[in-house]
């Protein structure tokens, strides 16, 4: 089954919520489609980014019933990095799940 855009967003927000549980009050990551994940304006370092990617991969793989990798050659070849923002990550996951449908 291909998850909807709303379902994928919910998965990403849950991953950010899990991350926020490990962070202090002043470092909380906003749950917003425009939240920068990795790049100049990002609040995340690569330790935090891996935490989010790991949780999203696991939840999306569960949802589609097969393993999904967000950090393979296809991710490398994207013109805009999938990890730029919540919006770009959501779009990339949607693209991956449609390709597998």
């Amino acid at each position: 089954m291909v998850p909807s855009q709303e379902a994928i967003l919910a998965i990403i927000f849950q991953a950010l919520t899990n991350l926020n549980l490990e962070r202090d009050a002043s470092s909380q990551v906003p749950l917003d489609v425009d939240t920068a994940l990795f790049g100049g304006a990002s609040a995340l370092d690569s330790l935090a980014l891996v935490s989010v990617i790991s949780d999203v991969e696991m939840a999306v793989s569960d949802a589609v019933g097969e393993p999904i990798s967000l950090t393979d050659d296809q991710a490398l070849s994207q013109q805009v990095s999938p990890f730029t923002s919540v919006r770009t990550l959501c779009a990339y996951v949607l693209q991956l799940t449609h390709e597998r449908a």
Partner: protein, 197 residues
């Protein structure tokens, strides 16, 4: 190690730790971020003594940005050339603010793994993680390490006993799992941002 060289990457370098780094590394080790690590030296003199007494079986590095700003530390310890294994250890990002948006931690670990598997030609790296240190456990699992067992109530950290989770990574797993993921994460830092000064 007397023959240690600086390991140079795209965003960071690993340069050998020296006694002159004692004050900075002591500050990092005493920060909140180091709460899940083993207790380190308590004074500057003890930190200096600890650095100067590192044995030949260890490679200790300071993680530096390309402009030379030191942001953390990372070591390869217990290097055993007979059994060809070693332990990545003392991984600590001390200057978190300076690392936001940049693949500092992931490239530092990639440089260390390259050193372990390509330069030293090890076949395995391994280590333990305190069970409360969930972010590090998740990080190591994602980058290819496998849980190999648990030493129950092995550490007394943060005023309570914790399990030591035993993790290991074999050379083929490094090349098949860790390396592609590390490359993708580093590319994410390259594609849409300016590199640190």
């Amino acid at each position: 190690m007397s023959n240690m060289k600086t390991l140079t990457g795209e965003f960071v370098s690993l340069r050998p730790l020296g006694v002159e780094d004692a004050e900075m590394t002591l500050k990092w080790r005493q920060s909140q971020r180091a709460i899940n690590l083993n207790q380190g030296a308590g004074t500057l003199a003890a930190q200096r003594a600890w650095i100067s007494s590192r044995p030949d079986s260890e490679y200790n590095f300071v993680i530096e940005l390309k402009d030379g700003t030191p942001v953390g530390m990372l070591s390869l310890v217990g290097v055993n050339q007979v059994n060809r294994h070693a332990e990545p250890a003392r991984f600590l990002i001390g200057e978190e603010e300076a690392c936001r948006g940049f693949p500092v931690a992931v490239e530092a670990m990639k440089l260390l793994y390259e050193f372990a598997f390509d330069t030293l030609q090890l076949v395995r790296v391994h280590g333990t993680i305190a069970s409360d240190n969930k972010p590090m456990y998740k990080w190591q699992c994602y980058l290819g390490m496998k849980e190999e067992g648990r030493l129950r109530r092995h550490y007394f950290i943060n005023n309570h006993f914790q399990d030591a989770i035993c993790m290991g990574l074999l050379e083929d797993e490094y090349r098949r799992i860790s390396l592609p993921r590390m490359r993708a994460l580093i590319a994410a830092g390259r594609s849409n941002i300016n590199k640190p000064a």
